[in-house]
């Protein structure tokens, strides 16, 4: 029981203090896990790499993974629940009050400004991702195809994602055969 509580509270802390998720949680995770001798530094990077190759939220995947390694299924559930609780509490509080404040003119102006920043944040994240993961002619073609299909046709991103995974496998198979 005690281990489950420690897992829950550790991931609660990580969930409450990592803004933006993803890589932001890595240093805190490392400190909490390694200092308890639950894992080593290399293992954490392994978990993190695995968290990225599984669907869903990377922070949740990593939490589930570490929880499972330490205390099987109850551990996985405790770690994941700990990770989710802070968001639940914070966003529910905001949701309960936000709608009332949103109609105040000053808040409206603030959020109009914020909207411009949100577009800029998305564009910058696309630029960063494109630099990192759009490689070679077929990467460029896949990225442009995905953009066009999603932006101009009424097709769910799910089909595009499944299609892209299949394309990646097919292209690599063909590449292997050519060598």
């Amino acid at each position: 029981m005690k281990v489950l509580w420690v897992l829950y509270s550790t991931f609660f802390k990580i969930g409450a203090f990592t803004f933006g998720g993803g890589y932001a949680m890595l240093p805190l995770l490392q400190r909490e896990m390694v200092s308890r001798k639950w894992t080593t530094d290399e293992e954490i990077l392994d978990y993190y790499a695995l968290g990225q190759s599984v669907p869903g939220i990377i922070a949740i995947n990593t939490a589930t993974f570490i929880g499972y390694k330490i205390k099987k299924i109850p551990g996985a559930v405790a770690a994941t629940a700990g990770m989710v609780t802070p968001s639940l509490l914070i966003i529910m509080t905001i949701a309960a009050f936000f709608m009332k404040f949103r109609d105040i003119p000053v808040v409206g102006s603030a959020f109009s400004g914020i909207t411009a920043a949100v577009v800029a944040l998305i564009v910058s994240s696309v630029i960063k991702m494109a630099k990192k993961s759009v490689r070679g002619w077929y990467g460029i073609i896949l990225a442009i195809l995905a953009f066009c299909i999603s932006a101009f046709l009424d097709i769910s991103p799910i089909w595009i994602i499944l299609g892209a995974a299949a394309a990646g496998i097919a292209i690599n198979r063909a590449g292997v055969r050519n060598k």
Binding site: L50, Y68, G113, T115, A120, M129, G139, S150, G163, A166
Partner: protein, 188 residues
């Protein structure tokens, strides 16, 4: 049955999102705004801003918010649990049977296709957001002038923000706060 709808929708979002960060955006937008109309386009943008300025992953924050708005506290708990459920199931199975999953050749080649496509999908989600944020169709309809189609004030602020983000790599909350102050001062 709103609870069931929330659960199925967020399970789907959890199952088909790859890559962390904003990679959940395209699916969230498609399901929440386009298909179910649980949030308006502007509310969706507001929530991106709130998610980027509060702790926690954007997927959980959106699930909590949409769940709360459509079905109260129970709705937000169910939506959040549902978005995590695919991860929980898949990761537990992998942790048990197949630790070296990410080194598998098929997984690697699938990701070589997924990564660029997800980049394109996020760009498309950004395009949708930009249409709402930077284009003022109402004013264009009122005046009939093509110049009025673009919201110049917003485009200027967008360009300044993008320049700042690419130049100084600070936390998103910094840019959101600055944009909010500019919005209030210049009465956006």
């Amino acid at each position: 049955m709103i609870f069931l709808k929330l659960m199925i929708t967020f399970f789907k979002i959890g199952l088909f999102s790859y890559g962390g960060g904003l990679s959940m955006l395209p699916l969230l937008q498609d399901e929440i705004v386009t298909k179910h109309g649980w949030l308006t386009a502007q509310q969706f943008i507001d929530m991106i801003a709130i998610s980027e300025s509060t702790p926690g992953p954007i997927g959980i924050n959106m699930a909590t918010f949409v769940g709360f708005k459509t079905a109260g506290v129970l709705g937000s708990v169910l939506a959040s649990v549902s978005v995590c459920m695919p991860s929980l199931i898949i990761v537990i199975i992998l942790a048990h049977y197949f630790m070296k999953f990410h080194e598998n050749t098929i997984v690697k080649s699938a990701f070589s296709g997924l990564r660029p496509a997800v980049t394109g999908l996020i760009a498309a989600a950004g395009f949708e957001v930009a249409k709402v944020a930077l284009v003022d169709i109402q004013k264009f309809v009122d005046t009939g002038k093509l110049v009025d189609l673009l919201d110049l004030k917003m485009i200027l602020l967008f360009a300044a923000m993008l320049f700042a983000i690419l130049k100084w790599n600070r936390h998103p909350i910094v840019y959101i706060a600055v944009a909010a102050v500019i919005g209030v001062i210049f009465k956006f």
